[in-house]
Every structure is written in C-alpha cells, then in structure tokens.
C-alpha cells in the first residue's frame, strides 16, 4: 500500500541514539528514541507536552557523603550542573520550565557492601526535581539490578526494563573534568 509504512519500515526509520554517561540529548524529532543502560547512574527524562520536546541526561555523581558537609556540597553542585544544562537545552528547543515533567530511572546499588552510590544519586535527583517543582510522572530507582531505558522525546513515553543478569561497568566521573569556575575578567 503506497503511503503506509509497515511496522518494520517504521522501526527502521526510527533513529536510536544512545545517551552516554556525562552527556545529554534533547530533540522534538518524533523518529528519535533515546536509549541508555544504567547501573548506579541516574537518567532524568524531561518532557514538555505543549512543545513536544524531550531530553535525557545520564549522570553518576561521585561517592556518597561520609559525614563531610564539603563532599555533600560538591556532589550537589555537579548534580545541579548536570540537571541545569539539560533544562537549558530543553528551553532552547522550545520547552517552558513550568510545563516540564520528568521520569527518573537508575540509581541501583549493584554490589553489596559497596558504598550506596546509587542511593546517593537517586536521592539527589528526587530532591532536585522536588525543589525545582518539576513533577515526576514515573520513577524506577534503587534495587540491585541494572536497567535499560528507552525514551521517545517527542511523545514523552518512557520504557524501563530491569536487566537481571547483565553486568554494567561504570565509573564515577564528574560532569566536567577541566578546571571549572575560573573567572574571566572583561
């Protein structure tokens, strides 16, 4: 039938983009699917239903605070940065802050006995969205298993599958490794 695509043709036309740790992607293209695999990392999938624009980030903040207020603040600063750059890219693509909603996935504690990095990441992301007044439509956080997430940015639909037997390797990296916060005087 001319003009009608089969399921296979539609699937082939879809553009799957993997969102790597420390990066983010934003688009309103209905053919794009963002995918990512998470262990302790967290992904926030943001969506503005009026603009039909969505975005995904993928971050892992360093080890959880060990009673040191300084360390906790550092985690917070990098987390806020990871979220802010995603939100800014959403706004540039036509989204409006007050229409944003979110899905949150990841934050598993993969290995027993290790510091609860996943929990620290989940807690940060949950608190951040609450503070910013961005409603969470759906969240699947914590546990001990890795996750595969698919997100369609133009429709805001997300799917999260638990990967029981898969081993996910990830290293905590700061969102920026170059020197940050330097003053450039005009």
């Amino acid at each position: 039938m001319p003009g009608v695509m089969t399921m296979a043709q539609r699937a082939a036309k879809r553009n799957r983009i993997s969102v790597m740790q420390g990066t983010r992607r934003v688009t309103g293209n209905p053919n794009v699917v963002f995918t990512t695999i998470l262990g302790s990392c967290v992904t926030a999938c943001l969506f503005d239903k009026h603009a039909s624009v969505g975005g995904m980030n993928h971050f892992l903040l360093s080890e959880p605070p060990q009673g040191s207020g300084h360390k906790a603040q550092e985690i917070e600063r990098y987390g806020v940065y990871a979220m802010e750059v995603l939100i800014n890219d959403m706004l540039k693509a036509g989204a409006q802050r007050q229409y944003l909603s979110a899905h949150l996935y990841g934050g598993a504690n993969l290995h027993q006995g290790m510091q609860a990095i996943g929990t620290a990441n989940s807690t940060f992301a949950t608190n951040f969205l609450a503070t910013e007044g961005i409603p969470v439509i759906h969240a699947s956080l914590g546990g001990r298993a890795a996750r595969r997430v698919e997100f369609r940015p133009a429709s805001g639909l997300a799917r999260c599958r638990i990967l029981i037997d898969d081993v996910v390797f990830e290293m905590p990296v700061k969102q920026k490794t170059e020197p940050v916060g330097e003053l450039e005087l005009f």
Binding site: V80, E84, V85, N88, L183, E184
Partner: protein, 122 residues
C-alpha cells in the same frame, strides 16, 4: 566594616540554595532574585557591592538585566559577574558589550567564586 553584600540572580531554586550556602559560609551578605525583573525591583531600593547573574532566565534574562543596569540608574559601576553554563565567545562578547565585569562558567567552585568576588568588589 559592614559585610560585602552580593545580589545573586538565578531562576533555579537549587542553584540559589548552593550560592547562598557557599557565599554565606564565606562571610558574605547574600540577597537573591529569581530573574532579571525581580532583581531590578530589589535594586530600586538597594545598592549591593557585587551582582552575580545567570544568563538563561524567564521574563528578563541576564543580558537584558546588565543592559538595563548599565544604561541608567544607580548601578552603572557595580561589578557584575555572569555565572552561566554557557561558555561560547558569542555569549561572552554580548555580556562584555552589555557592560558585564567578568564571566564564570558553571559548575562553580565556592572558593574560586569567593576569590572572584574579592577581586572585583569595590
């Protein structure tokens, strides 16, 4: 001597909290606005020693705020530091020609931010 007073302008409540904690801990008196318009409103009755502003904000962004302050009124010489996730030359040039004093790329380091404030504070 009274404390150095800083006005921070940022639309993100999380960022406002981080800035308040970082600067208050380092001995500064911190006032906050959530966009350019709220900043202008507060600046109608107050004269901070330094202004730190974000760029991307609703209602009135950082560029418009700087332009407005430099065009007329009591704040034509107050040091204004831009604190933004942006780092393109185009945006920096726009801030420079609007009359900003300097530019700091996020994420910020609290000690470096305090050093920057000390450096520009009148």
């Amino acid at each position: 001597m009274s404390k150095t007073q800083i006005l921070t302008v940022d639309d993100s409540p999380s960022m406002r909290m981080l800035l308040r904690v970082a600067l208050t801990e380092r001995g500064y008196d911190v006032e906050q606005a959530e966009d350019g318009l709220e900043a202008l409103d507060w600046l109608g009755d107050n004269k901070p020693h330094v202004i730190i502003t974000d760029i991307n904000m609703p209602r009135m962004d950082g560029f418009e705020l700087i332009e407005s302050l430099r065009t007329e009124g009591d704040h034509q010489t107050v040091p204004i530091l831009v604190l933004s996730t942006e780092s393109s030359d185009e945006k920096k040039n726009r801030a420079r020609s609007a009359g900003a004093t300097g530019w700091i790329v996020k994420p910020f380091d609290p000690d470096k931010l305090a050093a920057a404030v000390r450096r520009v504070a009148l």
